[in-house]
């Protein structure tokens, strides 16, 4: 199914959870925050939150800044 991740169109497997997506992208869940369709996904729901066609995801983390 098609989703958008950090502004880019991506094709991912149907029925993937947020946890599954992060694993596939090799992203450590403890260091990022995920937003799905403008709603923050609580970390303790990554396993239970399944993605749907057309979802817009933002995966952010802290970087150097002033």
């Amino acid at each position: 199914m098609k989703v958008q991740i950090n502004g880019e169109d991506k094709e991912i497997a149907d029925g993937l959870s947020v946890a599954g997506l992060l694993k596939q992208l090799q992203i450590r869940p403890g260091r990022v925050v995920v937003e799905r369709n403008r709603e923050i996904v609580a970390r303790d729901t990554y396993d239970a939150m399944f993605l749907a066609e057309g979802d817009a995801l933002e995966i952010v983390h802290f970087v150097g800044g002033g």
Binding site: L25, R31, V33, H61, F62, V63, G64, G65, G66
Partner: protein
């Protein structure tokens, strides 16, 4: 009795707050911050590079148990984006402290004050501890204090400009009225600028570029720590008044005749 920078009931020994941007690498970031003695460090919230996610993370170098992480809203040009960024930062689980900056213009990076006020209202209501970046305007400082911000952070000069304190008189007026800490944020160029801010009675100073872009960032980080300490001690000690004419330091009695 110790001398602390108190923000929303938490005491910090260091009055220097440092940014983590513009360093050569995370190793240099970490060393400079350690030498600066800073306990609060600012960070930005940005998208993960999903094509190269295995890059090291800033927090691998700055232990959030050791440092107070202060996420900023840099790059936000309206209140909604700033609030959204704070929500994302909060979910990272590093506390409720945020550096609110809503930028008004990309050439000066001066703050958009109406938008800053709007975002501050929302964030304070939601329980954030809000430290807003503002222009050196006493009226703005007062309004943000009234909204419930935990400090006010007037700029000394434009972000990254290194011009030092351009309007000490406005800062003095802000200091006279503020009941929350006044932290000079942005525009510091070198250690004497930091010392001057503290000598005037500012409660702290926040900087990034002045350290990170110095020829030797590690040495400048140390200079800034010393500058801040010297300025604070001089403020507490109480400087002598400025006089036009000389006053002899050696006694006049007992001179050879």
């Amino acid at each position: 009795m110790g001398d602390f920078l108190q923000i929303a009931g938490t005491n910090y020994r260091s009055r220097l707050i440092v940014g983590t941007g513009k360093y050569k690498d995370f190793q240099e970031t970490k060393r400079a911050i350690e030498i600066s003695g800073a306990e609060i460090v600012t960070v930005a919230v940005r998208r993960v590079n999903i094509t190269d996610p295995n890059k090291e993370n800033l927090l691998d170098y700055l232990d959030p148990k050791k440092f107070t992480i202060l996420p900023n809203t840099a790059g936000c040009y309206n209140a909604n984006d700033a609030v959204r960024t704070c929500h994302l930062a909060r979910e990272a689980g590093i506390g409720k402290l945020v550096k609110l900056e809503v930028i008004g213009d990309d050439r000066t990076l001066f703050p958009d004050i109406p938008a800053t006020l709007e975002a501050a209202k929302v964030l304070v209501k939601e329980g954030f501890t809000v430290l807003p970046y503002i222009s050196d305007d006493p009226i703005t400082a007062q309004k943000l204090e009234d909204i419930g911000c935990a400090a006010v952070m007037p700029l000394a000069a434009p972000i990254g400009s290194g011009l030092g304190i351009r309007n000490p008189y406005n800062l003095r007026i802000i200091l006279e009225h503020a009941k929350v800490p006044v932290i000079v944020d942005a525009g510091v160029g070198t250690a004497s600028d930091a010392a001057m801010a503290l000598e005037m009675g500012c409660h702290g100073v926040l900087m990034n570029t002045a350290i990170a872009n110095a020829k030797n960032p590690i040495l400048m980080a140390e200079a800034m720590r010393l500058g801040v300490e010297a300025g604070r001690k001089a403020y507490l000690a109480g400087r002598i008044p400025k006089k036009l004419y000389a006053t002899a330091s050696s006694p006049l009695d007992g001179m050879l005749s």
